[in-house]
Amino acid sequence: MSAATDAKDLSSDTTGVTADPPLGPGRMAALRGRIFGHAGFMIGAGVLLLIVLLALFAPLLAPHDPYAQNLMMRMKPPVFLGGTWEHPLGTDLLGRDFLSRLLYGARVSLLIGIVAALISGVIGTTMGVLAGYFDGRVDAVVTFLINCRLAMPVVLVALAIVAVFGGSLTVVVTVLGLLLWDRFAVVMRASTRQIRSREYVTAARAIGCSVPRIVLTEIMPNLFNNLIVVATLEMAHAILLEAALSFLGLGVQPPTPSWGLMVSEGKQMLLFNPWMITIPGIALFALVLAINLLGDGLRDVTAPENRN
């Protein structure tokens, strides 16, 4: 018997084999490992963080007032095309500092993306969770609404509404928020149905939990991963739609600095000053790419098949 005890003592320093069942690695530690090992996620998060910081500190960073016109200094080229450091990215048609407008424009793009995703997220998640948890009539109604929404051409409807109510930041954000909930609803409905059939939900019912409690504390936390992923995608979607609307002249109205608007203003100078359209275009591209990389990364990092 003493031999067996010896073996137990010896075992501790060999293969990591222990008699006492060890706990697996902490959830947070494992998550950290996956996050830092995911290049797309890290690049997306880095670029997005940079843009957010630039937008937040735009008043401190901008060399000029983005609205200040100086008709004497129209269409000065950026510094790398022979311009001066007075206007590092040059000036636009009205002589406004391009860099300053770009920095303030980031605020508009991010604001529209976040608020539109928030509004559509609340609408879509509520509908999706209700449809997924309650079968039958609720589900039928929500599914019908989703189908109706999917049958609407988003850009045309947005154009029509903006044309009626006039373009402004508030109108654009509200319209996009009210139009982009479909993916939230579809994904949340499917995920809720899946989670509802889990035995821990049945266990909660058997314990005597009320329906709101089950939805809020048993189901919602498990939807969070999917929710974040859809939210990032919809945010990118909203930013691009705003740019498209502004480009068509029906989005944010001048003189508000918006990247879509800047592209639109630059389009008349495409042949002579291509940088006027390229710079806001690249900014838009980088922001949307960063958000999408982050969204894909989140999906990979939190996907159930990656979890033990």
Partner: protein, 341 residues
């Protein structure tokens, strides 16, 4: 543990009318199923007029194939599904009018899959203390104490309280699920295939734990399983279910020694004991499996029954009481039914 502690499970007799802790009276449950958007509605009767009683301290094994209605029956007992007709009596009182939460304190479930039965986003403490919080039992420190106590009883150390389910092994998870079921000290535990998702070596630990808990706390189990060796090991009485009906009920020894219903016999023949001198048994059942939406006429088992004869395909079989208080529902025994009346 001394031999006296290991109380051998003797058979339990049928439950007298007034002593039942739990009684089902002619309970039926049917679902309406529609194929496609405009398909015709069909009725699936999962449980057909079932009578069942559980006495304090007994272990009633419920066996049958998947789709026979045993899980639906468990959900009715737990109050998760309302029966279409019939009564469920708990301690003599009808379940129908009772508060859902009151029932929860008396009957708790243990599920099959410990990977699906624990919320991955909650810690073990959150999971096990949830019933206490829902029912407003105790305050913070006393709940903490109770959770540590119950975890100790199910064989988990205090340090798992802050762990998440994915940090635990299958056996540890099932212990957490058992702790959650027992934290409110229920009288009846419905075990729905509690070990079939576990490895052999873990399965025996959980079975041992369940017997120990039964002895210690005087629990009553409804033990649903497809593993007849396990049922024979744990149960005191056995009910055999086929397509929504209980077709035979008897004390465990009687059922395993003299199975009466041909289906029970086929089930027992199918048990593969680890005996290398034996081959695979022939159950003499056909390959046809009945459609529960469109069950066979007469005795639902007749298309597969090796002993079917004239009345089986059109006449519903009689319920024949057996001498020790059990019963069998089969035409083979109807002579005796006539004689005993």
């Amino acid at each position: 543990m001394s031999a006296a502690d290991a109380v051998p499970l003797s058979e339990t007799p049928p439950v007298p009318e007034d002593e039942a802790l739990l009684r089902l009276k002619e309970v039926s449950k049917s679902y309406s199923i529609r194929r496609g958007l405009f398909g015709e509605r069909k009725t699936l009767t999962a449980v057909k007029s079932v009578d069942l009683a559980l006495a304090r301290g007994e272990v009633l094994g419920l066996v049958g194939e998947s789709g026979c209605g045993k899980s639906t029956l468990a959900k009715i007992l737990l109050g998760l599904e309302a029966p279409t007709s019939g009564d469920v009596l708990v301690g003599g009182q009808a379940l129908a009018g009772q508060d859902r939460t009151k029932l929860a304190r008396r009957i708790q479930p243990i599920f099959q899959d410990p990977y699906s039965s624990l919320n991955p986003r909650k810690t073990v403490f959150d999971i096990v203390s949830l019933p206490l919080r829902i029912h407003g039992i105790g305050d913070g420190p006393s709940r903490q104490k109770r959770v540590t106590e119950i975890l100790d009883i199910v064989g988990l150390s205090k340090r798992v309280t802050r762990a998440f389910p994915n940090q635990l092994s299958g056996g540890q998870r099932q212990r957490v699920a058992i702790a959650r079921a027992l934290v409110m000290k229920p009288e009846i535990v419905v075990c729905d295939e509690p070990t079939s998702a576990l490895d052999v070596s873990v399965q025996s630990q959980i079975l041992n734990l369940l017997s120990e808990l039964r002895r210690e706390f005087g629990l009553t189990y409804l033990f649903i399983s497809h593993d007849l060796a396990v049922v024979q090991h744990l149960a005191t009485r056995v009910a055999v279910m086929y397509l929504g009906r209980i077709v035979e009920e008897a004390g465990v020894d009687e059922l395993f020694e003299t199975p009466r219903h041909p289906y029970t016999r086929a089930l027992l023949d199918s048990v593969l004991t680890p005996d290398a001198s034996l081959g695979v048994p022939d159950t003499e059942l056909g390959a046809a499996f009945p459609n529960p939406i469109d069950p066979p006429s007469g005795c639902a088992f007749h298309p597969r029954c090796p002993k079917r004869f004239a009345p089986c395909d059109h006449e519903f079989p009689p319920t024949v009481p057996t001498k020790n208080g059990g019963f069998v529902e089969c035409h083979l025994y109807r002579e005796r039914a006539g004689a005993s009346q």
